[in-house]
Symmetry: C2
Subunit: 174 residues, 2 copies
């Protein structure tokens, strides 16, 4: 196990500034690009990250700490964000920053790393899960979506790179 | 084909601020972590990006524009950066920013997008390649290494996430 609360927070607090550095001011050709039918563009990924802050990570953690294994987490709709908001990207980036900062503050108040990380709750499909598993998933989920954004952007140049495609791991299809 | 010079520059100029946002001030546990023997940690990825600015992208472009298909690009050592520099990360991030900015300025001086993008040179193993292919590869190469950094970081929590591993694409092994 590698999880430590303060190290996890280091990463969680950097994600909003990272996506802002990456996307702020980019042309729509980048921001509206996706990997084909049913896939997300970079802006939809930001919508999804905001939705996770609102309804998934911190709310589930608070539920676990309060209910333990007695009740399963309330369901969470992973597609709730789609088509929900026509706000400009800049406003979404700020909203993500604001809600993430608030959630990190809450996290610090709710969790004593000396005794709460191994506390358990009930996931609707996985069964018993630990606070530490939920928190490390929050971090890895950020990484998953950062990787998705850069993969979606790389996809635009799949044909343009010509023979170099052989050296570019990110263009390999799974 | 999707390549347009100004859009490519939008991405190229964001990579240094993106990696700075992601890595600046992180604990060594994150910065020195890798995916196992023979793989790079996030700092080595930055070293590699700096080396590419020094010896690969812009120099090859200038060579192509000058020599055309007459001579193949001089060889480029993809591992030249390893173990080369013990500078603090902050200094490396600044160096990357400085050299990338200088190279983008050079790029704007060297290339007229109305007539130079389809000009050709000779790659030592691929044979004839176009300026546009080299430039779009520069962009996708950035994306490859951003994806690598977040994948390396996610790897640290592979065990910590417990059952959530099933939902976390970034932890899938190729």
């Amino acid at each position: 196990m590698n999880f430590q609360l303060e190290e996890a927070i280091e990463v969680l607090e950097r994600t909003p500034i990272t996506v802002a550095a990456m996307l702020s001011g980019l042309s729509d050709n980048w921001l509206k690009s996706n990997e084909g039918e049913g896939t997300w563009n970079p802006v939809e990924v930001i919508d999804h990250l905001i939705e996770g802050e609102r309804t998934n990570w911190l709310p589930r953690l608070a539920f676990l700490l309060q209910e333990g294994e007695r009740k399963p987490f309330p369901p969470f709709d992973r597609f709730a964000h789609l088509g929900r908001s026509e706000l400009p990207l800049q406003q979404k980036l700020e909203e993500f920053q604001t809600i993430r900062t608030a959630n990190i503050n809450q996290l610090r108040m709710l969790v004593d790393p000396a005794k709460d990380l191994e506390r358990t709750g009930r996931h609707p499909s996985f069964g018993v899960v630990k606070a530490r598993e939920l928190l490390s998933t929050w971090v890895v989920h950020d990484m998953t979506h950062l990787a998705q954004i850069v993969r979606v952007m790389a996809e635009r140049y799949r044909t343009d790179v010509g023979p170099w495609t052989a050296f570019l791991g990110i263009l390999k299809r799974p």
